[in-house]
């Protein structure tokens, strides 16, 4: 069904929902616009804290598409404003610019009809490309909002960035933000309205270069790390509130026939309760201190980021409306606590969602990929959601 979208009147939620599929069809021919932005932005390396090249490209793109007040700030966020017809309130759509890939990684993107592959295409070059393409898509579809739409590419989001970019923007921003949407490249069926508490970090073990045969220390940093891992697995975790510790990455040693003098463990502890997160952090410090005392090895614990749990409830009108929208687009929602920039919105008490654009796999691996054939559905979902917010259908009573 083709819907008249030009009125800027999004008062009828039923019209928005029933028009979502038709909107996706209208967006289908515009997928190339998103893909072109994905290539141009995604091939510019943007490791966390070094987003400048991508930032400059986004400034150019935002300026080219006619956003107002395009600017970047001291943390390298880039933002611009699409004026609403009334402009009484502000909707914020964000996508993080930074990726986990170092500058030296091959950032070439390969495009085939049903597969786009390359470093960071899913997390989050596609999300950023959609934000960069949004003004053009809205213009081509003649969609106007009565509220202002602020678009932002955020810096310093992942890993050590700890959403510093978005936090900094929200801290300094003077415009009242009604609602936020974090755009992620994948997955199309995710619906994140809450963030769990997270503490993410690394434990680094160093043993002396020269082995002290008289000492009680381990012969290898890997063995010391093993002891720490055993201690961590002994940390008691409650079933409620749900909590877990993920030991996601281990690196150590230089060669199979050399004693390892360095070993590193990457971990993430998650819980629905801030208190449990704090308890886990304390237990981790205790485990490290105990093993260090026993072995005499140098062990450091480096906390990369800490996020508080929170978010809007399942019954919040923003979540309720998004559920209806998923249903209208025949997407079965997968509720997933967000570990993204959503945490920053939560810290500032701004109702927000994280939405994915298409399906993808092998995230943060060499062959990270997305399926471009669903992009129009993801973009229709985003625009329909903005219409619903614009029409006042997502406000808490």
């Amino acid at each position: 069904m083709k819907t008249d979208l030009s009125s800027g009147n999004h008062k009828d939620l039923h019209t928005i929902l029933s028009g979502a599929t038709g909107l996706a069809e209208q967006i289908k021919p515009l997928r190339q616009l998103v893909l072109a932005n994905l290539i141009m932005l995604g091939e510019a390396p943007a490791p966390t804290f070094q987003e400048e090249r991508r930032m400059q490209l986004l400034i150019d793109r935002f300026s080219e598409v006619g956003l107002q007040n395009v600017a970047n700030d001291e943390t390298s966020n880039v933002y611009g404003l699409l004026d609403g017809t009334e402009g009484n309130s502000n909707m914020l759509v964000s996508a993080h610019m930074d990726t986990v890939y170092p500058e030296s990684a091959d950032h070439t993107i390969s495009v085939q009809p049903d597969l786009v592959t390359g470093a960071g295409v899913a997390d989050n070059s596609l999300g950023l490309a959609v934000v960069a393409s949004l003004p053009d898509i809205l213009h081509k579809l003649n969609i106007r909002f009565k509220n202002n739409l602020i678009l932002i590419g955020t810096s310093r989001s992942v890993g050590r960035g700890n959403s510093e970019g978005l936090r900094s923007f929200l801290n300094n921003n003077t415009l009242p933000i009604q609602t936020g949407i974090c755009v992620e490249g994948v997955q199309l069926d995710r619906l994140s309205h809450a963030s769990i508490g997270i503490i993410r970090g690394e434990i680094l073990v160093r043993t002396p270069e020269e082995l002290d045969w008289n000492g009680f220390g381990n012969t290898s940093a890997i063995l010391t790390l093993n002891e720490i891992i055993n201690k961590i697995t002994d940390i008691p975790l409650p079933r409620r509130p749900r909590s877990s510790i993920i030991l996601g990455q281990v690196r150590g040693g230089a060669a199979i026939n050399k004693r390892a003098t360095k070993a590193r463990l990457g971990f993430e502890a998650r819980s629905e309760s801030a208190e449990i997160v704090a308890e886990i952090e304390q237990s981790l410090h205790d485990a490290v201190a105990e093993v260090a005392a026993k072995t005499g090895d140098n062990i450091e614990i480096d906390i990369l980021s800490v996020r508080k749990p929170g978010g809007i409830p399942f019954s919040h009108p923003l979540v309720r409306t998004s559920r209806k929208l998923f249903e209208a687009l025949q997407i079965n929602p997968r509720y997933e606590p967000s570990t993204s920039d959503l945490a920053a919105f939560i810290d500032y008490n701004i109702p927000a969602l994280t939405m994915g654009i298409t399906m993808g796999s092998n995230l943060q691996m060499e062959d990270e990929n997305i399926n471009p054939t669903h992009i129009h559905i993801g973009v229709a979902k985003l625009i329909s959601m903005l219409m619903a917010i614009d029409g006042g259908h997502c406000n808490a009573e």
Binding site: Q32, L33, L35, A36, I39, M40, E43, E64, T108, I109, S110, V111, Q112, P113, D136
Partner: protein, 324 residues
Amino acid sequence: MQNKDWLKSNTYHHSDFWDLRKLVEEKQSRGLTISLCIPTLNEEKNIAKEVVLFRSELMERYPLLDEIAIIDSGSEDRTLEVAAEFGADTYLASDILPNLEPKRGKGENLWKAIYQLKGDIIVYVDADITNIHPRFVYGLIGPMIYRPEVGYVKAFYDRPLADSGVLRPSGGGRVTEILTRPLFSLFYPELTAVIQPLSGEYAVRREVLHSIPFPIGYGVETSHLIDLYNRFGMEVFAQTDLDKRVHRNQPTQALGRMAFGILQTFLRRAGDQEKLAIHSELNHYLKQFQVSKGAFEQIEHHIVEDERPPMDTIPEYRKKFGLD
């Protein structure tokens, strides 16, 4: 014109043309039409990216290109279907001017593009550039839009001109540095100012393009430079630094075959222009060796640099473009 002067006045960097809005305005004010030709053979893995990028950025956002055409040599994969799916016009070289005796080679595709495409300027870009970017097109079109006297703009890569103004080694390909540059130095010294004479990306005005013959194989770029230099001098050329170009690396033996074809084209022209005298018929068999089961095996390649005549001598072309 001295090499130094030409280099200074006719060498650009793609960033000189960053203002695409201005470039489009200038193009429109001059009433120019521009066609992009991508010659292909089995490029289904690469072609979508080029078409997506050029179509979205240089047709829809900035209407610099009036058409994007794929001219294919007869791919056995889905090159043409993929290109068409992303909105390019697709042609099989053998379907263009079908009454002519068929020939196969990249030069054949480039030549037939002159008949098939409508632009006043034709830009040729290879399909295997993995770091493709709009600069590969606008960097080449730029000098031609702003300077009517420039008829042929060639690409070069890897920033050979340092900020200090001191020329660093060009980083030209192996065949350029080992064969073409020494040959140009001996017989056409002025052409040595062209930093990468064999680069596959260039833009040409139709009236220039249709007036020169086309080797259908490896010698097409070399012949263009010699023929146009002979006719117009260095003033017809410009060159643009397009920064980095990432593409498939060719094995040395393939470069040997390339050099053999280029040499044939070169010798024919140098002979015709009485730069040197060749008193015997050239042999067209290149013999290379490969190791097979521990023994050397000789492989013979028959490489003849066949040529198409200038397009403006083809009656169908003259009729289509009203030259009679």
